[in-house]
Amino acid sequence: MKNRFFAGMAPVAVLSLSLFASSALADVTIGVTISSTGPGAALGIPLKNSVELWPAEVGGEKLKVIVLDDAGDPSVATTNARRFVNDDKVDVIVGSALTPASIAVAGVAGETSTPHLSCSPVPPTISKGKWTFVMPQDAGLIARNLFAKMKADGVKTVGYIGFSDSYGDLWMGQFKGIGEQYGLKVVADERYARPDTSVSGQVLKLVAARPDAVFVGASGTGAALPQIGLRERGFAGKIYQTHGAVTFDFLRIAGKAADNTIFASGPAMAPEALPDTAETKPEGMAYVTAYEKKFGPGTRTQFGPHINDAMAILKKAIPVALKKAKPGTPEFRAALRDAIETGGPFPASQGVFNFKADDHLGLDDRAVVLFTAKNGKFEITK
C-alpha cells in the first residue's frame, strides 16, 4: 500500500524536475530510480541528494534528469525502468540503491539495450550482463582487503555476526569462499535483524566461542548494535566492520565502543586524508566539499559518492558517444555503452574504474582504504 502511495507521488516530483530542465530536442536523458523511502531509505536519500549536485550539461548537451522513488521494491523499480525506456526515452539508467531493485533494473536494461549504472552491488550473474556496470566495490574486493588485514593482525579464529538477510549471507559467503586462503576459521555464525532491540543472546554465544576477532556483516547504524553489545560483555578482541558501517551516525551511536575497530571503506569517506598522488583524491574532494556545503558538515556517506562516480564516468563517456550518434536513439545508447566499457580508466571518488568486456566491476585495490575508529573519528590505517 505504501509503495503504491509513493509510486503515485513520484510522478509529481518528476513533473517539477522536468519543468526545470527545459527540453531541447537532443538532450541527454538520464533516468534515476532510487529507494528514497522504505527499508533502503538510509542508502537512497544520500544518493538522491547527490543527484542534485550533477552538472546541468555535459559535452555541450543539456542533461535531462528524471528521479523516481522505487522504495527498494523490485516491482516498482521494474515499472520505473520501463517508464524510463518507453516514455522518457532515456539514454542511461542509474540505480537502484538496494540489490534486489538493481537486479530488476538490470533486467529491463538488458532487454531494452539501455546502459545501466547500478548503485548497489549485484550478484556476479547480473554484473556479467552486457548493459550493466556496477559502481560500488564488490564484496570480494572488500573482503580480500579486510581478510589480509586480519591475517596481518594475527587473527586465526573469527566469530561472525551479520544481518539475517542477503547482506549478512554475502559476507559469510566470502568467509566460506576465500577465508581459508587467509588462514581464517569461523567459529560462530550468528544473525540478527536491523530492528532487533537486543543482540545479547548472539553476543553471549560469540564471546563463549572465544574467537580472536569478530567480523560484523551489517550496515549503517544497525552495525552498532553488536559492536556495543560485544564491548558491554567485555569482548577485548579486535572487531572488523564492512564498508556498509562507515557512517558518522555509527560513530555517534557506538561512541566509545567503536574505538580500535577496523573498517573497510571507499576512499570517498576521507579524501582529505589521502596522499596527493591518489587518483581518487580530486573527485573525492570535489564531491565531499560540494555535498557538505549543500547538506551540512559531516553529512557525507559511503553511498552518495556512487552517484558522483556514475557522473564522472558519463562525463567522459557521453562526449565520445556524441561523436557517433544523436541522443535518444538506440545507436547513441550502444555507443555510450561501448564508451563506458572501453573508455577507461575513469578516475572517480570511490576508485578508478577500468571496465573490460568481461569485467563490469572495474575496480581494484585503489577503491579500498582501511579505517580505525579513534575518539569518534575515522583514521586511515593502510
Binding site: 502511495f5 538510509a42 539475517s164
Partner: protein, 341 residues
C-alpha cells in the same frame, strides 16, 4: 551463567512488550480497535527523547501541532450545523492551544540541558496528546464500524505514521542517553539502572492501570464500555469519552515504553512496528481480553526471544511469531475467543 544473562535480557525486553500488550488489550476491549500503530508511539517517543538529548527541538512537536489542526478541522466540520460556544472553545483549547503550548514549552526547554528525567517527562507530554488526535481523526468517525474496518483503518494509520516518521526523523537510527548510567552487581548478575527503570515503570503502570479501573469512575466507565458498548451507552456512559481516554492512555504507555527502550537499543523510524507486533503476540495469547495473562505472556515472549537468539539466531523471529499459531488453534478450538457481530 549465560542463562542468567539471557533471562535478564528476556525479562527486560518482555517488560516493554508487556506495556505494549497491555495498551493493545486496553484499546481493543474499550474501542474494538486492533491498534497496529501502537509501536509508532514507541518509536516516536524514543526518537523524541534522543533528539532532546541532542538539545534539538524534536519534529514531533510540529507534527503534534499539525495533528491538532487537522483534528480541529474535523471538529469544525461536525459543528457546521451550529454549535454552542462552550463546545467550540473546548475544541479550540484541546486541538490548537494545547499543542501550541507544548510546542512553545519545548522550544524554550530543549536547549536548556535538562536532567534526563525532565526530558523523559517532556517526551511523554509531547507524545500523549497524539493519542487524542489520532482517535479524533481516524477512529471517532468510524466508532460504530466493524472490527475489520477498524483494523484496516489501523493499517492506514500505521503506514501514515511510519511515513511521517521517515520525513521527520530521517532514515538513520538514533539512540537516547540512559535515564541513569549506573550499574549494580547482584551476585554474578550485572543489572543496569536503565533496566531497573524498565521493571519499575512496568510494575508502576500495571498497578496504576489496576487502580484506575477499580477505583475511579472513568475507569469503571471504560470497563463498562469494554463489557457492553450499547449497554454502557444506555446507562449514560459517553462512549466517545471512553474512546478518547483509552487512546490517551495507550499513547502515554507507548511514550513511556519509548523513553524506556530508547537508551538500550538503536531506534529507527520503522522499528516500532516490530516491537509493537511482539506486544501483539502477547496480547493475542491473552485473548485480547486478559491483562494479567498478557503481561505474563509478554515476559514469556521476551524470554523465548532471548533464548532463541542464543541458540538459533537466524530463526529467532520465526520462533517468536510461531508462538502465536498454537495459541490461535487452542483459542479457536476452545471457542473462548470473543466473536464480534
Amino acid at each position: 551463567m549465560i542463562a542468567t544473562f539471557l533471562i535478564q535480557d528476556g525479562v527486560t525486553n518482555g517488560a516493554i512488550y508487556a506495556l505494549l500488550g497491555l495498551a493493545l488489550v486496553l484499546l481493543f476491549s474499550v474501542t474494538r480497535v486492533i491498534f497496529i500503530p501502537q509501536g509508532e508511539f514507541v518509536a516516536y517517543g524514543a526518537l523524541t527523547l534522543a533528539l532532546l538529548d541532542g538539545g534539538k527541538v524534536p519534529a514531533t512537536t510540529s507534527l503534534l501541532a499539525c495533528f491538532g489542526a487537522i483534528a480541529f478541522l474535523f471538529d469544525l466540520w461536525s459543528m457546521r450545523r451550529g454549535t454552542d460556544v462552550g463546545t467550540f472553545l473546548r475544541s479550540l483549547a484541546l486541538n490548537l492551544v494545547l499543542p501550541g503550548v507544548i510546542y512553545g514549552a519545548t522550544i524554550v526547554l530543549a536547549p536548556l540541558e535538562l536532567p534526563s528525567v525532565a526530558k523523559a517527562l517532556l517526551t511523554i507530554l509531547i507524545i500523549t496528546p497524539m493519542g487524542v488526535y489520532v482517535y479524533r481523526i481516524a477512529y471517532r468517525p468510524l466508532a460504530d464500524a466493524s472490527v475489520l474496518v477498524l483494523l484496516i483503518a489501523s493499517v492506514g494509520v500505521h503506514l501514515a505514521m511510519m511515513g511521517l516518521g521517515l520525513v521527520f526523523f530521517g532514515a538513520e537510527g538514533l539512540r537516547a542517553e540512559p535515564l541513569a548510567d549506573d550499574n549494580y552487581t547482584i551476585g554474578a548478575l550485572m543489572v543496569s539502572a536503565q533496566s531497573l527503570c524498565i521493571y519499575g515503570a512496568t510494575i508502576a503502570i500495571i498497578i496504576g492501570l489496576y487502580m484506575f479501573f477499580e477505583r475511579t469512575l472513568l475507569g469503571k466507565a471504560l470497563r463498562a464500555t469494554a463489557v457492553n458498548r450499547l449497554g454502557a451507552r444506555l446507562v449514560g456512559v459517553r462512549t466517545h469519552l471512553t474512546g478518547v481516554t483509552a487512546f490517551t492512555l495507550a499513547a502515554a504507555i507507548g511514550a513511556v515504553s519509548g523513553v524506556l527502550i530508547g537508551p538500550i537499543t538503536t531506534i529507527y523510524y520503522d522499528t516500532g512496528f516490530l516491537i509493537g507486533l511482539k506486544g501483539f503476540v502477547a496480547a493475542i495469547i491473552g485473548g485480547l481480553a486478559s491483562f494479567p495473562i498478557t503481561a505474563i505472556a509478554a515476559i514469556g515472549v521476551g524470554l523465548v526471544e532471548s533464548f532463541s537468539s542464543f541458540f538459533a539466531s537466524s530463526y529467532k523471529e520465526v520462533i517468536v511469531f510461531g508462538l502465536i499459531i498454537p495459541v490461535l488453534i487452542w483459542l479457536s478450538l476452545s471457542g473462548g475467543f470473543h466473536e464480534e457481530e
